[in-house]
């Protein structure tokens, strides 16, 4: 059964990104996969409320705003997902007693928005020069009623799916996995599989997402390197 937008099952939507598009924040990025699109702006390290100050590390705060409607518990849920994903990758101990604030604004949600949020955050953090242990790339995948597994599902596909799976991996890990995507050796930073599925389904989606994540990572890399090259023309005259 072909997909509504005539993609291959393992084909992610066209990726698009803009780095440093916002000028009030310390770092920003817009990340889009097809019509799903997310803005992320990062402040940090900045001053932290005495109340939640940590003496040995920076506090990481995530604020997520939905594309439409008032924010609610579902947004707190996304925030906690993103915060968890970056808690280790951000080298918070390098800026004790400060705050690193990640502000995410969904522009449009046409499926796989959680993954997009994570990818946008990675790029914004890099743009802000927040010290990172590693880059993070995320991808999602859905098992449809007919048992077919499709990557980067649209809202429509996700709604009809048996189960939906989102994974995030650290860059070095993806590299190690190699193009084969040997799931065994890898360790996801974030997993959210929900619906009605078997272990086999899970493993299948795992591999698909790992491969998609590789593509995403490669994309982010070129985008960032492009910007640096542009800037550093002068820094290496």
């Amino acid at each position: 059964m072909p997909r509504p937008d005539r993609r291959e099952n393992d084909q992610i939507r066209a990726l698009h990104s803009i780095l440093g598009l916002l000028n009030r924040v310390d770092g920003s990025a817009q990340f889009s996969a097809g019509s799903t699109s997310v803005y992320c702006g990062v402040y940090g390290p900045v001053d932290v409320k005495v109340y939640d100050e940590k003496l040995d590390r920076a506090v990481i705060e995530v604020k997520f705003r939905p594309a439409a409607g008032v924010s609610g518990t579902k947004d707190r849920w996304v925030e906690s997902a993103v915060r968890g994903t970056f808690e280790r990758e951000i080298l918070a101990q390098m800026h004790p007693r400060t705050l690193i604030q990640i502000n995410i604004q969904a522009r449009e949600d046409d499926g796989s928005a959680d993954a997009a949020a994570i990818n946008a955050t990675t790029m914004a953090l890099v743009d802000a020069g927040v010290p990172l242990r590693d880059m993070v790339a995320a991808a999602s995948c859905a098992v449809l009623a007919d048992g077919a597994a499709v990557v980067d599902p649209t809202l429509e596909e996700a709604a009809a799916a048996q189960s939906v799976h989102t994974f995030a991996f650290a860059g070095s890990d993806i590299g190690r996995a190699g193009s084969g995507g040997a799931s065994g050796s890898t360790s996801p930073v974030y997993v959210d599989s929900r619906g009605d599925f078997s272990v086999a389904d899970y493993d299948r989606c795992y591999d698909l997402c790992l491969r998609s994540a590789q593509r995403v990572l490669a994309f982010m890399r070129t985008a960032i390197e492009g910007k640096i090259a542009k800037e550093s023309q002068i820094s290496v005259v």
């Binding site: 770092g27 900045v46 400060t98 802000a128 020069g129 242990r133 070095s172 890399r221 550093s232």
Partner: protein
């Protein structure tokens, strides 16, 4: 000297030295580089610089948020006055403390009196992770101001830390180009704040915009841009 290579966070940096001396010797890791579980890797995106003789590695990357480092010149704005000094915003996480006596010739009896909102040119005296940064408007060894102190008149604007870093070195193309055309005063803070002063507001605005525009331009383009601006005037 430094060969250039763009690195991203997580990229492993090969610290094996060409010269075949003992590996045990301690490596110096500058900004943007850190040792993470037994490996030296980049923690920021930018251009990798290395100096094998000194065994130094560092990444030059562009940022917007200033993290104070001792000895660096900064442009700050006084936001409050306390008993023992001024609280000055230098764009870093915590406001910096400027002691009342950290001025040339300041004594218990005669201290400078700065209003809130005053702009000062200062250097970072104390920067550590456990206390708020401290800045001073004089060289504590010589006791001389050495150009530091209140900045009166003129105009201040913000730019990226990367640009500020480039402006501060005397060879900064845009400043040279401008300097050859118009006379003006400039004070560059590594915290991404630039103060300039000329006799005419129009010129100040022109220079400010020229400097802002130079962010993504190389030397040649800079000269070109400045030339055009001056002609417009």
């Amino acid at each position: 000297m430094a060969e250039t290579k763009v690195v991203l966070p997580g990229d492993i940096i090969d610290t094996s030295l060409d010269s075949d001396e003992e590996e045990s010797s301690v490596l110096r890791l500058g900004p943007g580089v850190a040792q993470i579980d037994e490996q030296v890797s980049a923690v920021a995106a930018g251009v990798l610089h290395s100096d094998n003789e000194k065994k130094q590695w560092w990444v030059v990357s562009n940022k917007r948020r200033y993290v104070p480092a001792e000895g660096e010149p900064v442009v700050g704005v006084v936001v409050a006055r306390h008993g023992e000094g001024y609280r000055v915003d230098i764009g870093s996480a915590q406001g910096a403390l400027l002691p009342l006596l950290a001025f040339e010739g300041a004594t218990k009896r005669n201290k400078p009196n700065l209003a809130v909102g005053t702009v000062v040119y200062a250097r970072v005296a104390v920067a550590n992770s456990v206390m708020d940064p401290e800045i001073e408007c004089y060289n504590s060894h010589t006791g001389k101001s050495e150009g530091y102190g209140e900045l009166a008149g003129g105009f201040m604007f913000k730019c990226s830390l990367g640009l500020a870093r480039r402006l501060i070195d005397s060879k900064a193309p845009v400043l040279n180009a401008l300097g050859s055309g118009i006379p003006f005063e400039v004070a560059v803070g590594l915290n991404g704040r630039v103060w300039i002063n000329t006799e005419a507001p129009a010129t100040t605005v022109l220079i400010a915009n020229a400097i802002k525009n130079s962010e993504f331009l190389d030397a040649k383009q800079c000269r070109q841009m400045v030339k055009e601006l001056l002609e417009k005037q």
